[in-house]
C-alpha cells in the first residue's frame, strides 16, 4: 500500500476501467446491490424529510438562451 497520491489516483482509474469492462449483466447486478444498500442507509425517515437538500430533476430540454 502506498500513500503516494499519483499511485492512489492511478489505482482508482484502473479499478474504474476494470468495472466498466465487466459484462453488462454483472454491472446491472451491481446497480441492484448499490440501490439496496442505499435504501438501507437512507431509510424511510430521510425520504419524507422536507429539509433534506434534494437533487434537481433533469430538465431534458434546452436551457434558455
Amino acid at each position: 500500500m502506498s500513500f503516494e497520491l499519483h499511485a492512489i489516483l492511478e489505482s482508482k482509474r484502473a479499478l474504474r476501467r476494470q468495472l466498466a469492462a465487466r459484462p453488462v449483466a454483472e454491472k446491472l447486478r451491481l446497480l441492484d446491490a448499490m440501490r439496496e444498500r442505499e435504501i438501507a442507509i437512507r431509510g424511510r425517515r430521510i425520504q419524507s424529510d422536507s429539509s433534506v437538500l434534494r437533487e434537481e430533476p433533469a430538465p431534458f430540454r434546452p436551457k434558455p438562451l
Binding site: R13, R16, R17, L19, A20, P23, V24, A25, K27, L28, L30, L31, D32, M34, R35, E36, R37, E38, E55, E56, A58, P59, F60, R61, P62, K63
Partner: protein
C-alpha cells in the same frame, strides 16, 4: 430488486404494442458503457401513444399495463421489481434523435434498447447539472466515445459553446 426484470417488463410492453419503442437513458443507460454508478431510478424514454378519443399523448396505458402486472405507483414513478421507473417523453430534438438512434444491447436472456454513448454524453452536456458534467467526464475519460459521431451530434444540436466551456473547465491543462 432486479433491474433485469424491469427490462423484461418494458420489452413485453413493447411486444404487446403498448409502446412503439423505448430507450434506456440516465445512469442505467450509462452503465452499459461505463462503471456502474448508484442511482435512484430508471429513466425510460418513450414515445407515448394517445388514448383512444384523445389527441393528447399519455402514459396511462403504460401505467395500467404495469399495474396489472404488479407495478405500483409512487408519485411520478411506477415501481417495478423494486425499482422506481420514470417514463419520459423525448422533450428535445436531441433526445428524439437519441431515441431514434438507440441500439439493442444483449443482457443475459434478454436485450435492452439503450441510448448510444455519444447521445448519452451529449444529453449530459445539454442537461448541464453537476452530476451530468461528472458523467460526461466519465465518458471522455473512459474513451468510449466516437469523437466524430459525438462532435456531429454536438454541432447538430447547437451545443458547441457548451462543449467549449466544458473543455475549458475540465479538459484543459491551463489554469
Amino acid at each position: 430488486m432486479d433491474i433485469k426484470e424491469v427490462i423484461r417488463a418494458i420489452n413485453e410492453m413493447e411486444a404487446d404494442g403498448v409502446i412503439e419503442c423505448y430507450a434506456i437513458g440516465g445512469a442505467v443507460g450509462a452503465t452499459f458503457y461505463l462503471e456502474p454508478v448508484a442511482t435512484l431510478d430508471v429513466d425510460i424514454f418513450v414515445t407515448f401513444r394517445s388514448e383512444p378519443g384523445s389527441l393528447l399523448a399519455s402514459p396511462k396505458r403504460i401505467f395500467d399495463y404495469l399495474k396489472a402486472r404488479g407495478g405500483r405507483m409512487q408519485g411520478e414513478y411506477i415501481v417495478v421489481a423494486g425499482w422506481p421507473v420514470q417514463f419520459l417523453p423525448p422533450g428535445t430534438p436531441l433526445v428524439e434523435e437519441a431515441l431514434k438512434d438507440a441500439v439493442r444491447s444483449e443482457v443475459v436472456g434478454t436485450s435492452a434498447r439503450v441510448f448510444t454513448a455519444e447521445h448519452l454524453a451529449a444529453i449530459a452536456l445539454q442537461a448541464g447539472r453537476a452530476k451530468d458534467k461528472a458523467r460526461l467526464l466519465q465518458f471522455v475519460e473512459a474513451g468510449v466515445l466516437d469523437a466524430t459521431r459525438f462532435q456531429a451530434i454536438v454541432s447538430r444540436h447547437g451545443l458547441e459553446d457548451a462543449w467549449r466551456k466544458f473543455e475549458r473547465q475540465f479538459l484543459s491543462d491551463a489554469p
